[in-house]
């Protein structure tokens, strides 16, 4: 890794006069303490939402997909919208832990743990939709190429929906391994601090006997780097494959080659917005403001601004090519988005995704916590509508005008979506009380190069030296 020298121009990443021990205590505090009333209130709300979702799913499977608002023209709507939305959100976690690791971004260390947790929990939500949107979900195992008694009847590997199966399952497994490997030293820290035999036992099991020897650390770093190198193409390819679900088709508005990188940019965009939302709350309630600083929020905002601009360029490219192509179906698809019956969703998407991140050019706004929080929420609304617009507006009016129709979601559609949000927060709330939410082992590696106290000490020393000369 880079040397201990750090340019004075860089702002500190750990605020205050922290020692290694302080970091341990600060990170362990939420785990070792007891949950307060607020936590239980929020948890209960999330749990109720989750149970409501479970009921909606059970109702769907028991009664049939007809309980949803789908019709003969629009076979995909909220189900796949939510699926893509959740997968997209999940991408920021891998981006923060893998891509930012490859780019040696030290600031990722305070946020990678929670971002990865967010990845895993949102991929779990995403993973529900491919199953429950099936007409016969109990035959879902048929998508796997396993030898069977139908004369070894196999799957057709030409379908992007099958690629989705491989992409999502690989993505979940690799993310889980990556996350867990990083957790080993931190679980070991909790194990060593545990007072009750029960917690001692739990964290002993979770930490896999980590003892932090030199050889272990050396291999640990190497594994992290290899996994980061693998996770980066993985994160690109997963959302690319998700985009193939649409782009390989012949539907105007779906069949476009920019989808692969543009979906990935959108995923990073929405994922970072979600990380921002969660961390702005977490730094407050878990007293981690010294680690997740304004600078972290500012940098996340900048990434939102950049990816938001990339998405904006892609929108304009699509519009321009639709005109340039001279294909009237393509041109109509975009005319319909902008001025058809779903015009409001298109303009909502445009406002939220293209305009809102542009305010981040102003330093006052991107370093303002309240503004960042609001904009990060706005982005996630916008990105939900992006998927909705792509899916529904392309389907409800395409080649044959006699097949044109509208889409109206039912309470079951909504119930399942709310349920996944509930489930996500159930998992995330449980995580934030039982896992070390900051990778303390990693933060300790940057304390002396990027900690405020040490940076100041270094500056003072340099000043003294120059005075002496």
């Amino acid at each position: 890794m880079s040397s201990h020298y750090e340019a004075p121009i860089r702002k500190p990443l750990v605020i205050g006069e922290k020692s290694y021990h302080d970091i341990t205590v600060d990170v362990a505090r939420p785990v070792e303490g007891r949950a307060n009333k607020l936590w239980w209130t929020v948890f209960t709300i999330a749990l109720v939402a989750f149970l409501w979702g479970v009921a909606s799913m059970a109702y769907t499977i028991g009664t049939g997909i007809g309980t949803w608002g789908l019709n003969k023209t629009i076979g995909w709507a909220w189900d796949i919208t939510n699926f893509v939305w959740w997968v997209g959100i999940g991408h920021a976690g891998t981006l923060i832990s893998a891509v930012l690791l490859l780019f040696r971004q030290k600031w990722r260390m305070a946020i990678n743990r929670s971002a990865e947790a967010m990845t895993i929990f949102s991929v779990v939500q995403a993973g529900l939709f491919p199953i429950i949107h099936m007409g016969r979900p109990w035959l879902a195992y048929w998508v796997l190429p396993i030898p069977n008694q139908f004369g070894s009847l196999w799957v057709n590997f030409n379908s992007p929906l099958l690629w989705d199966v491989f992409a999502i399952s690989t993505y979940l497994s690799v993310s889980l391994v990556f996350w867990w490997t990083g957790l080993l030293p931190d679980f070991a820290m909790l194990r060593d601090r545990a007072i009750t035999p029960f917690t001692k036992r739990v964290y002993s099991i979770l930490s896999f006997g980590w003892s932090g020897r030199v050889k272990d650390w050396q291999r640990f770093e190497e594994v992290s780097l290899v996994l980061a190198g693998l996770a980066t193409p993985l994160v690109l390819s997963v959302h690319t494959i998700v985009s193939f679900d649409f782009a390989t088709s012949v539907i105007p508005g779906w069949h476009t080659t920019i989808f692969p990188p543009y979906f990935v940019a959108g995923a990073v965009f929405s994922g970072f917005a979600m990380v921002n939302t969660l961390l702005i709350i977490m730094r407050k309630v878990s007293n981690l403001e010294d680690y997740i600083t304004i600078q972290h929020i500012e940098l996340m905002n900048m990434i939102c601004m950049i990816t938001g601009s990339i998405v904006g360029v892609a929108y304009i490219t699509e519009l321009w090519v639709a005109w340039y192509s001279g294909v009237e179906y393509e041109q109509y698809a975009f005319l319909n988005r902008a001025s058809g019956p779903y015009w409001w969703s298109y303009w909502l998407m445009m406002t939220c995704n293209v305009i809102s991140p542009q305010v981040m050019w102003i330093k006052k706004i991107r370093t303002n916590i309240m503004a960042s929080f609001i904009i990060s929420l706005v982005i996630n609304v916008g990105m939900w509508f992006e998927r909705f617009v792509i899916i529904v507006t392309s389907l409800h009016r395409d080649y044959l005008p006699s097949s044109w129709t509208m889409f109206q979601p039912t309470f079951v559609d909504a119930g399942i979506y709310v349920g996944t949000i509930g489930f996500f927060f159930v998992l995330f709330l449980l995580y934030s009380r039982s896992f070390p939410v900051i990778a303390q082992a990693e933060v300790k590696t940057i304390l002396k190069s990027s900690g405020e106290f040490y940076k100041k000490a270094r500056d003072n020393k340099e000043n003294h030296q120059s005075l002496n000369h």
Partner: protein, 431 residues
């Protein structure tokens, strides 16, 4: 201070001289009339062992049309050779400037020792843009047939092109080109100026100014890069379109640009000029070459696979023609642009070795030349293509000019930036 070595200067001049001769040969050798084309085709048929069958009266008209078609292609051939080499080398210098801007905007701690190399090499952007703009002017005023939409006789019978004339018309096309080229060059001049002022004065306000200008440039770039690749490359195949195209072109030249930076760095280091550059810097450049090679392949595959998969006749002809007429370069460039760089640059120790970087680099540069050739030539030369004296000469000419302009600029100021706030990090960079 670097002094432009005599050997290198001679090499650049020889490359340019040979290039001009080769290009002149190409234009001289291009057929002027359909009769000459017929003769060439007959000879080719004999070479291939085929029989020259006599043409019946009824077929005569069709045959004459075919000859005219081939004549246009053959006359386009030297133009295409010059155009491909010109845009390729110009975009490389633009790519170097963009890589510089990216490093500046992201406050990279490893690269400031290479800033002067990047600033210097991007000096080609100005002469490169001027020559390129002249080429665009020649095409716009009927000097050649590279862009079929510029030919009123074709547009007259082509409804698809007629629908696009709101965008594809010569005045608008040239205005756009001026805006893009001037914009890029302005940033380059400004960046160089601020960087030198920072060197002289140590006043950090120049750093801040440059930082802000860089952010603005990158926004300007992402927009103009997309549009310019539609204008200068995609519009050659006027009927075809792909939304991904602009980003695909970007991936192609940025990876080549990083490779060229690596080449120049290795060269200067070997001559003992870059004191603070160590194998870690080379390693980082190698990683970028590796990563962007994969990124290019990702975009290549996405664009190709999606059109192949849905097989919509209007757009898939683009690839069918390339697979049928340009089979070896079309798939061969995947070896050069993906397989070789990835295999060579996977190993961490290898990325620290100059000769490995050079080997992978040669593969990348030639691979992406072929990539640009394949984007342009099928639309201008069609089936009458070959990579011969003219193509190589054109590449030599622009490479020579690139070396001349780049290293002249490098030799004018010290090779190490002085007061950049991150220079100390870069000097001590070790990975």
């Amino acid at each position: 201070m670097y002094t432009f070595s005599k050997n290198l200067k001679t090499l650049a001049i020889v490359l340019m001289a040979l290039g001009i001769i080769g290009i002149a040969y190409g234009f001289f050798n291009a057929p002027k009339t359909t009769a000459e084309v017929e003769q060439i085709l007959t000879e080719q048929a004999h070479h291939d062992g085929g029989e020259h069958h006599s043409v019946s009266e009824a077929d005569h008209d069709a045959h004459q049309k075919h000859l005219e078609h081939v004549l246009t292609q053959m006359q386009n051939k030297p133009w295409t050779a010059v155009y491909v080499a010109c845009i390729f080398v110009m975009l490389i210098s633009l790519g170097i400037l963009v890589f510089y801007a990216l490093n500046y905007a992201s406050a990279a701690g490893w690269s400031p020792v290479l800033f002067r190399v990047m600033e210097g090499l991007s000096a080609y952007l100005l002469p490169g843009s001027i020559i390129f703009f002249i080429l665009l002017l020649v095409s716009s005023f009927g000097g050649n047939h590279l862009f079929i939409w510029m030919d009123p006789a074709i547009v007259e019978h082509d409804v698809i092109i007629q629908n696009k004339t709101g965008y594809l018309n010569v005045p608008f096309f040239l205005i756009r080109a001026i805006i893009f080229l001037v914009g890029w060059n302005l940033y380059r001049v400004y960046a160089r100026k601020q960087s030198l002022k920072l060197d002289e004065t140590g006043d950090l306000s120049y750093h801040k100014k440059l930082f802000k200008a860089t952010a603005v440039f990158l926004v300007f770039f992402i927009v103009t890069e997309s549009i310019s690749s539609w204008d200068w490359i995609m519009s050659i195949d006027t009927h075809w379109y792909s939304t991904l195209f602009g980003w695909y072109v970007f991936a192609s030249f940025i990876v080549t640009a990083i490779t060229v930076i690596a080449f120049a760095t290795l060269y200067l280091k070997s001559k003992g000029y870059l004191e603070h550059v160590n194998t870690s810097h080379i390693h980082d450049l190698g990683k970028f070459m590796f990563g962007f090679s994969i990124f290019w392949t990702y975009l290549w595959f996405s664009q190709f696979m999606l059109q192949w998969y849905s097989n919509i006749p209007e757009e898939v002809t683009y690839f069918i023609f390339r697979i049928q007429e340009y089979n070896v370069p079309f798939f061969g460039m995947l070896l050069l642009n993906f397989v070789l760089p990835v295999l060579l640059l996977m190993n961490s120790d290898f990325k620290r070795l100059g000769w490995i970087i050079s080997m992978a680099g040669v593969s990348i540069v030639f691979g992406h030349y072929i990539d640009f050739y394949l984007m342009i030539s099928p639309g201008t030369v069609g089936g009458s293509w070959s990579i011969g004296i003219t193509e190589i000469a054109a590449l030599m000419f622009f490479a020579g000019l690139f070396i001349f302009a780049g290293f002249t600029s490098i030799s004018k100021v010290p090779l190490l930036v002085k007061n950049n706030p991150l220079i100390e990090e870069s000097k001590h960079f070790h990975y």
